[in-house]
Amino acid sequence: MTAMGEQRAMPMPTDAQREADRLLTICNACRYCEGLCAVFPAMEMRRSFAAGDVNYLANLCHACGACFHDCQFAPPHEFQVNVPRTLARVRVDSYRAYVWPAACAGLFARNGLAVSLAAAAGVALFVGGFAAWHDPTVLFGTHGGPGAFYRLMPHGAMALLFGAVFLYALVAIAMGVRAFWRDIDEPGAPPADARSLWQAIRDAGSLRYLDGGGVGCMNEDERPTDRRRLYHHLTFYGFLLCFAATTVATLYHYLLGRVAPYPWYDLPVVLGTIGGVGLLVGPAGLLAARERAEPAVRDAGSRGMDTAFLAMLLLTSLTGLALLLLRATPAMGLLLAVHLGVVFGLFLTMPYGKFVHGIYRFLALVRYARERRGGHDGTADAA
């Protein structure tokens, strides 16, 4: 009601946040969407919204589209209530706001270009490096048996380079996490407890809120026929399996002294292959879904970012699987360079692209789980 404009200490800093604030006032007076996902109950716990609250709600939204198709005030209605698109815009702005270092905020503006350049630079670096280091007989030679990859690049150099870029990505993401959590959390509130964390892990792991409140999410129109949850599972768990493959291989190398490449039945290859297939089908499905999406619901401005991240995942698995299939042929040298280049680009751009959505959304789910358990509710129940 009333209170919304008056009790806020500071005005919303961005247009998207101001629009979100307008919608939250409408949604809070209506509440029909309360059962669809976590966003609306979280909204009802507040009567006025600070910028951090809006960023929290935006990252809590999984963009299932149900509230757009269920809303009697959605466009063309004059109230123009479009929650998924507005929150998508706030989300992208929030990635920019919490990025570390702050100077990299601009990378989100033309993210497709930035990620493509990083990928191209990664590939060029490795192909160029291999070519400069070796004569063509090594680069285009056929290598077999343990240590075949390291004839092209010494293991120590590979580990150092990827360890460094991975560590950098971790630090940059951690700094963003810190800024986001500070902004959305109530001052003085206890830190996240184990039960809230576990609840959030289950909610994120099952994509509980990407299902339109139970029937499946809506993408093209009001029919809840969308398969995005499945494709996202393939992508996410495919990514985790690939990550597990790399971890196992690292342990093999340092603990057991077993050197890559490994035979096809060995754990790193099995994990990487299954994960790689998931990481092929999942992103392809998500890209196709994005093409079919109802334009009114999507934020056109984040299209480049979505596409870039999905394309990077797709390229990672594609080059990885190609390397697996052709590792005994003269193409191995070049394929290894391309694969390493893509993975390098992926790691380097992780803090500056769509990857961070998973991190912030998880944190929002932790916060939501905690405030649900706390029974935090500021609204009078007036019949």
Binding site: M1, Q72, G213
Partner: protein
């Protein structure tokens, strides 16, 4: 593609809950069905798009309902809210049938959830649609499409061919042309005339120009007017409509639920002469909200102002527009465009009449005025804590009571009393049979679902025989 040249088994006119329940039931009964919705696709569904629950009898608590709501209690509630203006046989029939509606509606793809925040008082009796009325409509339309029901939007019925109580065809205006559509049976489910200002003026005069319509501009009552003009027996008081107090700043049409104001009991209500005109604390708000539209319609300019102070600001559900705020009462009056000194005097007189008491908005408390006319019987607290607030309010028309008389097979009765051979009615267009006056939350949807399903089944049966 919809083929208007063919003769459908059942023609359903309307596009809301009742129409879709009828269409689905008729189709499941083996009939070919065409639905004609006058509104464009986005605005389909009449008042259903603004609903959020339905009231069905049930013998025990369910996943979403907190306790039993037996048929007799439902009947008592209906008798009370209508003050006896109901057809007991039809009403009891509807209540009995409502028990199986929750399951039937769920089978058509509609999903339920526990009562929404701020509606705890309905948690036992009313089943809330997950995602609200438009979500319910989406589910029903999806099911209808899957079953092979044909639907046309922007298709208003502008004339009917009826012979000796027998429906022959409907003239449909579509893309500027008028086409005749034939069918073996008609289900009239096209609602009331609440958005037809000219029609409302017939009973309310120029005051109707100041009414706000809570639903879409497409609820014009065209089909109702056609039927009543062709020998169909009418039911319900034509002059009455369900009118609540909504924010005067709302759009003329389709402001829906978010423009409602639940704060009358916390303050006083004055007209544009800054005078009070009714007991704001007569009874609990859910029992009184529906009289305020008519009360305001009786005031000059059809406008009034709910005035309260800082201590009440957070005691009610938020609404769309912010309250108008001022540091003093004369200033508040100025912002409202009424005489500020007169407002201050009215509040001063009210404050002086307030007796000491213990304020409790959850019960009929002992905070009341003495020696004031009209009195405020409960929840009367001095308005003396700045800042002061006000909401301007106008009558918001939800639905009308005039309708077509039906029997328990949902068959339309002709003047003279004989049932039509092949015309049925369901939903708001016949709600006056069971709801001749007043309202209880969710009853409109019960009427629509129960009689919609009955109408569809009976129409399909009639066609098959």
């Amino acid at each position: 593609m919809v083929d208007l040249a063919r003769r459908y088994d059942v023609l359903v006119v309307g596009g809301g809950n009742a129409a879709l329940c009828a269409a689905i039931a008729a189709r499941r009964g083996g009939a070919s069905v065409l639905v004609l919705e006058a509104a464009p696709k986005f605005y389909r569904g009449g008042n259903t798009r603004h609903t959020r629950n339905m009231r069905c009898a049930h013998d025990s608590a369910t996943q979403h309902l907190t306790g039993p709501y037996l048929e007799d209690e439902f009947w008592d509630d209906l008798k009370r809210v209508t003050q006896g203006h109901t057809d007991e046989e039809l009403a009891r029939f509807m209540i009995a049938r409502s028990k199986e509606m929750l399951g039937w509606i769920a089978e058509q793809g509609v999903r339920f959830q526990p009562s929404l925040g701020g509606t705890l008082s309905l948690g036992r009796t009313n089943s809330f649609f997950l995602g609200g009325g438009r979500a319910m409509l989406n589910a029903l339309y999806l099911t209808a499409a899957t079953l092979g029901v044909d639907v046309l939007y922007d298709a208003e019925v502008v004339d009917l061919a009826i012979e000796d109580g027998m429906f022959l065809s409907a003239a449909v205006r579509r893309d500027g042309a008028v086409v005749d559509v034939r069918a073996a049976a008609l289900v009239a489910a096209a609602g009331g005339f609440e958005a037809n200002i000219e029609w409302l003026k017939k009973y309310w005069g120029e005051a109707a120009e100041n009414f706000l319509i809570r639903g879409t501009p497409y609820n014009r009552g065209t089909l109702l007017r056609l039927l009543l003009g062709k020998g169909v027996q009418e039911v319900g008081d034509p002059t009455q409509c369900h009118a609540v107090a909504i924010d005067a700043r709302s759009p003329r049409f389709d402001g829906g639920i978010i423009t409602r104001l639940d704060c009358v009991v916390f303050g006083i209500v004055v007209n544009r002469q800054a005078r009070r005109f009714y007991d704001e604390g007569e009874d609990f708000w859910p029992k009184r909200y529906a009289i305020w539209g008519r009360l305001i319609a009786g005031q000059p300019g059809q406008i009034a102002y709910i005035v309260f102070d800082a201590k009440s600001l957070r005691m009610f559900m938020p609404s769309l527009y912010p309250a108008i705020r001022a540091d003093s009462l004369p200033e508040l009056g100025g912002k409202l465009g009424i005489d500020g000194e007169a407002l201050a005097a009215t509040v001063a007189a009210f404050n002086a009449a307030v007796r000491p008491g213990t304020f409790d908005h959850t019960e009929l408390d002992d905070c009341r005025t003495e020696g004031l006319s009209p009195p405020k019987s409960h929840w009367a607290r001095r308005i003396d804590e700045a800042p002061f607030y006000a909401y301007p309010v106008r009558p918001g028309i939800t639905f009308t009571y005039l309708g077509t008389r039906v029997d328990r097979e949902a068959r339309i009765l002709m003047q003279g009393g004989a049932p039509s051979a092949n015309m049925f009615a369901a939903g708001e267009i016949m709600a006056g049979n069971v709801l001749g006056r007043g309202y209880a939350a969710g009853v409109g949807m019960t009427i629509g679902s129960v009689f919609g399903r009955v109408a569809g089944e009976q129409a399909a049966r009639r066609v098959r025989n």
